[in-house]
């Protein structure tokens, strides 16, 4: 099930909210209710693999108890329990997500299909809930979090539907307080509803429409230049479009997750912070998918030594490991690994030249970040090396392709009303205006502006619902991770 569906909006969400508030007299019952609906939410899209989620909850619950039991008493046994948990979680991830990739790579290296592929389908959100569950046991081991003795409450942490399938990756200590200490707060409900609605509108009106353009351009590229010549302008429209589509697809999901969490009394950390205003690649990755970056920092980079190591080579090695894994986390393909290493290259270069402290005009910095990220997104989107190569060749007129075409102009003509709002919403114009309005003492201006916000959001929601009723294009890119 996806948030941007009528099943969710008309049935799942109202029933969940109704049940939640009717059980408002007991946090325990509310937690059980939320766990049940979360499992139903997941089972709707994965009727078989919901069992995998339940197994993950059970395994991590038991391992968490064992780690806690032996921590400080028998550190060796605690470490064994932790190791078993890490191996179990990563094994699940490996089997379902990476096994066929490694088999293909081995077969490719040998030159024939020696090892048969397993052909397992990727369970939705496996990368998210596996990392989340793993972080819980590690945090218990590190004394960063208290062990959760109630399996249902732990189940709620791992399976809570707002962030189950596409994050943010929530650390247990972030959510621990709210599991048993929530208080009804109408302000949370209004803030959460507002945030959820903004996310839904951005997803349907911006991300989905950008996706239409991007998918067609990539499919035409896939056919090869001898079948269809993708002009340079069209290729750049597709690259920019995908960059924006991915941002809105993912950040809007995070908005909806954070908003829904708030409605139910949970506070999740922000996952995006206007990454396109970054002035360096380093800063970009501190603003994009913050929860994943934090996870890798806490559980891979720092344990390896981080940057506080005697030898710069070790720091480079640590950064290499993080970025290779980050690429691999996104997908089992060489293009994702290449993409991870591409980002690594710029991060290291920036460190070497101390880019963030150099006196470079802001405009150039912003342009540099956007272009570098956009080119990286071509790798990210391409399913294979062939498509990546063809796409780059089209972008730089190396395929004998023309510069422009009627179809390229047509795409801009038909979709300017998506591209322009997308660009505007990717930079913090709205918070700036909101800040000015809040600070203003001019009551009529405040009233008119706030009324306009409400009217705009209502209009956006109505158009979004009409789009869903129409049954148009509605993918969720990060479901593939």
């Amino acid at each position: 099930m996806v948030f941007s569906s009528l099943t969710f909006l008309l049935y799942f969400l109202p029933i969940t909210i109704l049940g939640f508030f009717l059980l408002g007299f007991s946090i325990k019952l509310q937690n059980i209710w939320l766990l049940i609906v979360s499992l139903i939410f997941y089972a709707w899209g994965e009727p078989v693999y919901v069992s995998l989620l339940i197994i993950s909850i059970i395994v991590n619950y038991i391992m968490g108890l064992l780690v806690d039991r032996y921590n400080d008493v028998n550190q060796k046994k605690a470490k064994i329990a932790l190791t078993i948990d890490v191996v179990a979680n990563l094994s699940i991830l490996f089997v379902f997500k990476y096994m066929d990739f490694f088999i293909s790579s081995i077969n490719g290296a040998i030159g024939k299909n020696v090892i048969p592929k397993a052909g397992l389908t990727l369970p939705i959100g496996i990368s998210f809930f596996t990392f989340q569950a793993l972080s819980y046991v590690v945090d218990v081991y590190r004394h960063d979090a208290n062990v959760q003795k109630n399996p249902l409450d732990l189940g709620l942490y791992i399976a809570f539907f707002p962030q189950l399938v596409a994050g943010p990756i929530v650390r247990y200590k972030t959510i621990e307080y709210y599991i048993n200490n929530r208080r009804f707060n109408i302000n949370n409900v209004t803030e959460g509803t507002w945030r959820f609605s903004i996310g839904l509108v951005k997803k349907i009106l911006l991300a989905n429409n950008l996706g239409v353009v991007v998918d067609n351009i990539y499919k035409l590229t896939q056919t090869g230049s001898d079948m269809y010549q993708v002009p340079v302008v069209m290729a750049w429209i597709g690259a920019a479009g995908y960059m924006l589509q991915l941002f809105f697809d993912f950040s809007s999901y995070s908005d909806m997750a954070i908003g829904l969490g708030k409605i139910f009394g949970f506070e999740f950390d922000e996952n995006f912070n206007y990454p396109f205003i970054s002035k360096s690649i380093g800063e970009f990755w501190r603003r994009w998918h913050i929860s994943l970056g934090t996870w890798f920092k806490e559980y891979v980079y720092f344990p390896l030594g981080g940057s506080r190591v005697k030898n710069a080579d070790i720091m480079v090695r640590n950064t290499f490991v993080v970025w290779a894994l980050t690429g691999l986390w996104h997908g089992a393909s060489w293009t994702f690994i290449l993409w991870g290493l591409y980002n690594l290259l710029f991060l290291l270069l920036e460190r070497i030249v101390d880019f963030e402290h150099r006196n470079i005009p802001a405009v150039i910095r912003h342009a540099y970040v956007v272009v570098i990220f956009m080119l990286g997104m071509v790798m990210f989107r391409a399913q294979d090396i062939y498509l990546m190569r063809e796409y780059f060749k089209n972008m730089f007129m190396a395929n004998g392709n023309p510069f422009c075409s009627d179809t390229s102009i047509m795409i801009l003509r038909e979709y300017w009303m998506v591209f322009i709002p997308a660009i505007m919403c990717s930079i913090p114009i709205a918070p700036y205006i909101r800040k000015k309005v809040e600070a203003s003492k001019n009551v009529p201006v405040k009233f008119v502006t706030k009324t306009a916000w409400v009217a705009l959001l209502c209009l956006g929601m109505m158009i979004s619902v009409s789009s869903l009723v129409r049954g148009g294009y509605n993918p969720f890119i990060y479901f593939n991770f």
Binding site: L9, T190, L220, T451
Partner: protein, 441 residues
């Protein structure tokens, strides 16, 4: 603290207002839609449960979601595993929920209106686009990508011709006109309208190469002197009954000239005065329009043309017996409760069925004809009834290798007509002899 004081102290009052509206809207729409959705969901759940029971008992899964013979069942539900059955059931429930939303068509029209107001000419992710006449056209980015093997289709037609010829029959390929054609259309620059004329040209070229007798009805219309409005509809991809009649005339002339068929020697059946042409005002929303809505083009409903013989017939069509309007012409299609579920083009033979058979009791010595066709052929088939004793029809995507071979084996057809529009020159319309065509140079 008094209520007014409390309200005054609330920060972000606009979010409270919005939240109230959001929940009111969500719960209202949910309750109002549930009235339509729940019976459909119940039906879906019943079928899914039955499928699960049959699968668990090891029986053949016979319970199905399909509704009628005219439904496209080529993409039948996967019942191979328990997981597939559950997933399919869930997909059907999602579909039930989407199609039973309260005031569904108002929402669709609203979506069309918004697209029109922002000046868009295409809609639904390049599914449809308006041309400069404000007519709906299908759109496809692949229209200029040469990704089908028309030479092979022609070779398959050659095999079919040879097989039919063994029993003395003749094969004729007919190409129906493309609604979007540069002769009579101008579209907005850059939009990839479904203009498959090049593809039809290529197939006809290969047909000439392999000696397949072909008739190009695009030429018929271009030479007809008809206006665009007399040939096509704005909200539908089909041609009018009158345009089809002109094609029928050409077909008869062709059979007489080339095969000395001696059909209609007095020209009675080719005399348009022997047909009643009626325009039914403001009733028609074609297939494209039913998908997109009326508001996108903002031109309202169209007039629909019926083309009916003034003379009688005595036929059996799919177990119905009688005159034209008792059988192959269906006046009830012109009346409907729900505009978006209407199908006036179904006036002609219900649009297109998987398979049809017409037996003409008034001409037992008439021609035996097999039409491998799409929906464009339906009005022509009706026009051709007087000459035939038996007409077998199969919708191209159901003309499997087995079906065609069996049909030819069991019946000595005088003619086999393969009749497709430009948009149906696709692999799934050329299944016959797909593995045993002569690979000629």
């Amino acid at each position: 603290m008094k209520l007014i004081e409390k309200i005054k102290n609330i920060e972000h009052k606009e979010k409270y207002v919005y939240t109230a509206m959001f929940f009111a809207g969500m719960f209202s729409l949910s309750i109002l839609s549930a009235k339509n959705s729940l019976p459909e969901i119940k039906k879906t759940a019943t079928v899914a449960t039955k499928q699960l029971q049959q699968k668990l008992k090891g029986e053949k899964v016979t319970a199905t979601y399909a509704a009628s013979a005219t439904e496209d069942t080529t993409s039948s539900d996967d019942t191979s595993t328990l997981e597939a059955i559950v997933s399919t059931g869930i997909a059907h429930v999602d579909n039930n929920i989407t199609t039973s939303v309260y005031k569904r068509y108002d929402w669709i029209e609203g979506y069309g209106t918004v697209n029109r107001l922002v000046g868009k000419k295409e809609i639904d992710g390049f599914s449809y686009a308006l041309d400069k006449k404000n007519a709906y056209n299908s759109v496809n980015f692949w229209v200029t990508v040469p990704d089908h093997d028309y030479r092979r289709y022609s070779q398959q037609l050659l095999t079919l011709k040879n097989e039919v010829g063994k029993k003395g029959g003749k094969l004729i390929f007919m190409g129906f006109p493309n609604k979007f054609d540069s002769t009579w259309d101008s579209g907005y620059s850059g939009i990839p309208y479904n203009d498959y004329n090049n593809q039809m040209d290529e197939l006809l070229l290969w047909n000439r190469r392999y000696g397949i007798d072909s008739i190009d009805f695009r030429t018929t219309l271009k030479n007809s002197g008809l206006t665009w409005k007399e040939m096509f509809y704005k909200t539908d991809h089909h041609w009018t009954g009158k345009a089809a009649f002109l094609a029928f005339k050409d077909l008869v002339g062709h059979l007489n000239d080339k095969y000395d068929a001696k059909l209609d020697p007095n020209g009675y059946y080719r005399n348009i005065n022997n047909y009643e042409i009626k325009w039914h005002k403001n009733i028609f929303l074609g297939a494209s329009g039913r998908s997109v809505g009326v508001s996108f083009a903002n031109e309202g409903l169209e007039d629909f043309q019926t083309f009916k013989p003034k003379f009688d017939c005595n036929i059996t069509w799919n177990k119905m017996k009688g005159n034209y309007t008792d059988t192959v012409l269906i006046p009830s299609k012109l009346k409907y409760d729900n505009l978006y579920e209407s199908d006036p083009y179904g006036y002609y033979m219900n649009g297109v069925c998987q398979m049809d058979q017409i037996i003409n009791h008034n001409n037992k010595d008439g021609l035996k004809v097999l039409w491998i066709r799409d929906s464009f052929a339906s009005p022509m088939i009706v026009d051709s009834i007087p000459f035939c004793s038996q007409i077998d029809c199969v919708w191209g995507k159901y003309a499997t290798d087995d079906y065609v071979k069996k049909a030819i084996k069991n019946t000595d057809y005088d003619y086999v007509f393969v009749a497709y529009g430009t948009v149906d020159l696709l692999p799934n319309f050329f299944h016959f002899y797909e593995n045993d065509y002569p690979k000629k140079d």
